[in-house]
Amino acid sequence: MSARLPVRKTYKLFIGGAFPRSESGRTLDHEGHNVARASRKDARDAVVAARKGFAAWSSATAYNRGQVLYRLAETMETRQAALAAVCSGRREVARAIDRVVWYAGWADKLAQVLGGANPVAGPYFNFTLPEPTGVVAVIAPDEPALDGLVARVLPALAGGNAVVVVASEAHPLAAIELAEAVATSDVPGGVVNVLTGLRAELAPVLAAHMDVNAIDVTGADGDVAALEILAAENVKRVVRAREDRSPWEVGAFMELKTVWHPIGR
């Protein structure tokens, strides 16, 4: 009798809530795994999916978004072993999960901390509210493999944005394992999209894309200036990590809307 063979995982892309292979049929070898090598077309498809996801995610109540993100922490908790295998280990996984919980709790407090009422000199009621900017491209940092990614994606999600992640080339599996937790956590399809492949091939497509509102370049090393030049074409918000955990990390992915209305009898 032969020993049981383990069932191996196929690492595919995560677009619009599904796990497709790259339309190009290409893969990259990563430590013995065939990881999908996304094409420019996959990147554009991911933006279309994100735009759809954004409609659902941004119109959900902040309370609901908070609960769904907390649910993500729950699904990550049950997948600790799988996640630990693709990053530096269980301590990093614990940090990442706690970060998800922290940002989940922010979802329905942002408007009170980042917004406010404005005492204008006239008979007007005037208030300012933060709103998600839209579709955010995230160039994932290489280190830490899992928590570094979570630290950039969660602020965008907590604010109500949809994201397209270009996974780290060094740690593509961490991004896909996270995508599997996302897929089982009630996050609507298209809100999180993950592209594995070559950063030099994918990041410029997203930086230049006219339906992407912001790009997080924390994980882009030498090519930041080139990406920023492309980003200017539609005045993208270019975001970098500033603080480890902060509501203003969320604020970087948000617009501020000010509403005026007269007061009268």
């Binding site: 920023e228 074409e233 809307k257 509403v259 005026w260 209305h261």
Partner: protein
């Protein structure tokens, strides 16, 4: 005896009612023949040795000569600001506040002089420079003065620090007010500035240099370099700046964003707009007409947040357009210094050409034009208030920022269609909504992809109220607590 005319039937005479002239005296302001640059607290001659005249757009008469700052001049100004920063950052915040309070008071004291100067140099009606531009500029300094020693309360959990030297470039539509929007928060946060006023409207910025002297602003804290677009380009390329704040066209904003790529320089952009002013059939119609007129003809339509696309619910289209045309016939176009003037001069020949070109495109593309009969002065640059009906979303006059007194009227049937059409633009600076239904105001406000939404009002501004755009209208906010963030870093 003639029958008593029914109320509402009074015909408006061609060219509007006659008013006696009511000119504001220009004696209150006297310009120097020539203005140098304001660097390190002193007026200096430009190393470039180049000068250019600034003219009144209403009469084409030269008002003064100003310096065309070259690369060396810009470098000197940045150096002065760097030096000024070392001293200024060490000031006690409470004393920095007092400097700003002083500026606010001096602006109030010299308000009439500045208003006349603004109208002479820029062509805007005196009632607007007197009642809007200058009081708001003073209010802005007063507002941010109070923040200077309270910054740690603005951002709980963070430690705010100044950025350093801010390069600031302002447009010609609200010269002194835009200067205030830039300089007041920058100084309150402990930065120093090099400000470049617009080529066609440098004079109130140069008078502001004198306000700084009167207020005893320390040398190097405020530096003013005049010139054309090349001066701005030198400023943005300078070593030694930590921040760029720009208000102007989307095209130039993009060029600046590209120029700063890969450099660790903070950036805020306040760019163009093509705001929808949305009128529902249940609105207070006469109030809406006033709001529409204010939205597009205020400051000759030289307003980035102007309500230049009128979206009217189909059922009231004809009635509203009739009322609007009737109201337009009462607008008085002419001498900016006349207190009765509603629409002043177009700021420059170049801007007049741009407006004319787009209006021609509107007619060619098949929209129907209306201009009330009005006599335009022979000298200077003028454009009659204009409305286009029958405009399609694909028309250039519905997509491009005209930056003049030109309104495009489109229609919609349902609120969803209004949202769709309002957001169908690369811009996202402002929007207006007119309806008596409170829940619909909030529903619409929620769906507008725009930084400022005016419900049953339009073109309101206040130093406490953040202003800025979504999408290609730029990023960052000016005004309010949020306006501080653009001039701080956090430890």
């Amino acid at each position: 005896m003639a029958a008593v005319a029914k109320k509402g039937d009074t015909p408006v005479p061609a060219g509007g009612w006659d008013y006696a002239p009511a000119p504001e005296s220009r004696d209150i302001v006297s310009f120097e023949e020539r203005y140098g640059l304001f660097i390190g607290g002193e007026e200096v001659s430009p190393r470039s040795r180049a000068w250019f005249p600034t003219v009144s757009p209403a009469t084409e008469e030269p008002l003064a000569e100003v310096a065309q700052a070259g690369p060396k001049d810009v470098a000197l100004a940045v150096d002065a600001a760097r030096e000024g920063f070392e001293a200024w950052r060490a000031w006690k915040p409470s004393e920095r506040a007092k400097v700003l309070f002083r500026i606010a008071r001096i602006l109030q004291e010299r308000a009439r002089e500045l208003a006349v100067a603004e109208s002479l140099d820029g062509g805007k009606p005196i009632k607007e420079s007197r009642d809007v531009d200058i009081p708001l500029a003073a209010a802005h300094f007063f507002y941010y003065a109070g923040w200077a020693d309270k910054l740690e309360y603005a951002f709980p959990g963070r430690r705010p620090r100044p950025l350093g030297v801010a390069a600031q470039i302002v447009p010609w539509n609200f010269p002194l007010l835009m200067l205030a929007w830039k300089i007041a928060p920058a100084l309150a946060c402990g930065n120093t500035v090099v400000l470049k006023p617009a080529e066609t409207t440098p004079l109130t910025a140069l008078l502001f240099a004198d306000v700084c002297r009167q207020a005893q602003v320390p040398p190097g804290v405020v530096n003013i370099v005049t010139g054309d677009g090349s001066t701005g380009a030198h400023l943005v390329r300078s070593d030694g700046i930590d921040k760029v704040a720009f208000t102007g066209s989307t095209e130039v904003g993009k060029a600046i964003q590209r120029e700063l790529a890969g450099r660790d320089i903070a950036l805020t952009l306040e760019l163009g707009g093509k705001a929808a002013n949305i009128v529902f059939d249940d609105c207070a119609l006469d109030q809406a007409v006033e709001g529409i007129v204010n939205g597009i003809y205020f400051n000759q339509g030289h307003v980035c947040c102007a309500g230049s696309r009128l979206l009217v619910q189909e059922s009231i289209h004809d009635q509203l357009v009739r009322k609007l045309k009737r109201r337009m016939a009462t607008l008085r176009v002419g001498d900016p210094l006349d207190k009765n003037t509603d629409i002043g001069a177009i700021n420059s020949k170049a801007q007049l050409d741009r407006i004319t070109e787009l209006v021609e495109a509107g007619t060619e593309e098949g929209a129907e034009i209306y201009q009330p009969p009005c006599r335009l002065p022979e000298k200077g640059w003028w454009f009659a208030p204009t409305v286009f009906t029958g405009v399609a979303q694909s028309h250039r006059i519905a997509r491009e920022e005209i930056f003049g007194p030109v309104l495009s009227v489109l229609t919609f049937r349902t609120p969803d269609e209004a949202v769709e059409k309002a957001n169908n633009t690369m811009y996202g600076l402002s929007a207006g909504v007119w309806t008596e239904k409170g829940s619909r105001i909030l529903w619409m406000a929620d769906r507008m992809r725009a930084g400022v939404v005016w419900g049953n009002t339009f073109n309101r501004f206040d130093p406490a109220s953040p202003f800025g755009g979504y999408k290609e209208s730029g990023f960052g906010r000016e005004g309010g607590r949020h306006g501080l963030e653009a001039y701080l870093r956090f430890e």
